[in-house]
């Protein structure tokens, strides 16, 4: 996995797992990779993966069964969406607004572009 420079690795791993869940590659109730399996796969310190799992556990995206590992929780998709929305509003939207302002773009124009993008892609 290629890590970006602008975000802590444990959060990038959390995003990677959230994407697996949204893409339904990891389904509700599925057991997810153990800390060591994921650390080996991504070539990172196992303690970093522990931190990712604690973070996702706290966000109620995954839950733990004693001695059996971590599982995708029932509300995982909603929780992932909520988490990603917060991330987007907090990190990406300000950058977008900054560019809109710098380039002097008009919101009606952006809206038009957005509608065209939606039709073309979804």
């Amino acid at each position: 996995m290629e890590f970006r420079d602008n975000q802590a690795i444990y959060l990038q791993i959390a995003e990677y797992i959230c994407e697996r869940i949204l893409l339904k590659q990891w389904k509700i109730g599925d057991k997810i990779a153990s800390v060591r399996e994921l650390a080996v796969q991504l070539e990172v310190n196992p303690n970093t993966v522990v931190r990712t799992y604690e973070f996702l556990h706290q966000k109620e995206i995954i839950f733990t069964k004693r001695g059996m590992g971590f599982f995708v929780s029932d509300e995982a998709e909603d929780k992932v969406l909520a988490f990603r929305k917060d991330e987007f509003l907090g990190n990406e939207l300000p950058v977008f607004f900054k560019n809109v302002h710098l380039l002097g773009l008009d919101f009606d124009f952006i809206k038009e572009k957005y509608e065209a993008f939606k039709t073309a892609n979804f």
Partner: protein, 277 residues
């Protein structure tokens, strides 16, 4: 647990390499030891391994005084030096000779590592390249399953796929009972693996912190213009502007850039010390 207490060390009568150095390393971590050439990384590792003796103070490893080199200490310690000697024998004969010193040695594990590194146990050390010799010794060291594993510049001389295999193998053997200490200049090879970070400089420990603490306290980013000059701990030109290290005033959660951290620590020693006190 490795406890270094008030350790001073010097070669002959020259300037001390360490002066009253204190450091505590605990199990379950992969420590990354950084420092300039000549900062004393290898000397410190050799003190931990019982190969060099302090002129003052002590180095205790899991309750053993390293310098006494008791067999019960040595069988739980594997040290891979940067420059090493390999006898002119086949790998399997090397293993036959040296593995009995390590009660937890696993031949099965060793053969798996060799296979991963694409080396045969029937090869002779004299017929291997430097990188291949190193990989054979890394495999041997990991298969000893010692509680303490010390490696001096392990990725030097490894080719690109081997570096990735090395990271995978370290991730697989970094257990809660083990202390792994890796010294390196090649921080990009290992930056997602080593944590906590120790920076040695000027005969002392300049920084000792987990990446979690570092990213809480410092912010690493690229900016087009450097403002807030008084706050910037370090900055350097990059293609997209300036890469800067600043105190993390908000709740930014940047990835720790070890090269920038290292340069910041060396150019702004006192500020870094104050921040991490």
């Amino acid at each position: 647990m490795i406890t270094i207490n008030n350790l001073s060390f010097n070669y002959g009568k020259r300037k001390p390499v360490f002066h009253h150095l204190n450091l505590k390393l605990s199990a379950g971590n992969v420590y990354g030891l950084l420092g300039k050439n000549g900062a004393g990384k290898s000397s410190l590792l050799r003190n931990m391994a019982g190969l060099l003796f302090p002129s003052e103070g002590t180095c205790t490893v899991n309750g053993y005084n390293a310098q006494e080199r008791l067999p019960s200490f040595l069988q739980e310690m594997y040290f891979l030096p940067e420059e090493f000697y390999t006898p002119p024998v086949k790998i399997k004969d090397f293993v036959k000779t040296y593995s009995p010193f390590y009660p937890n040695f696993s031949l099965k594990q060793f053969l798996e590592y060799l296979e991963e590194f694409q080396i045969s146990e029937n090869e002779k050390f004299t017929e291997l390249s430097l990188g291949q010799k190193k990989k054979a010794l890394i495999g041997f060291g990991l298969a000893t399953n010692t509680k303490v594993l010390i490696m001096d510049e392990p990725t030097n001389g490894l080719d690109i796929p081997s570096k990735s295999q090395f990271r995978k193998i370290i991730a697989s053997v970094a257990t809660d009972e083990r202390i792994i200490v890796i010294s390196t200049h090649q921080v990009r090879d290992l930056d997602s693996l080593i944590d906590p970070i120790i920076i040695l400089d000027g005969s002392e420990v300049l920084l000792h912190a987990t990446t979690e603490e570092i990213s809480e306290k410092l912010s690493f980013k690229t900016v087009s213009v450097v403002t807030d000059h008084e706050k910037v701990l370090y900055s350097e030109h990059s293609i997209r502007g300036f890469s800067v290290v600043m105190p993390n005033s908000g709740h930014e959660n940047n990835k720790v850039d070890l090269e920038l951290l290292f340069n910041a620590a060396l150019t702004n020693r006192q500020a870094i010390k104050d921040i991490f006190q």
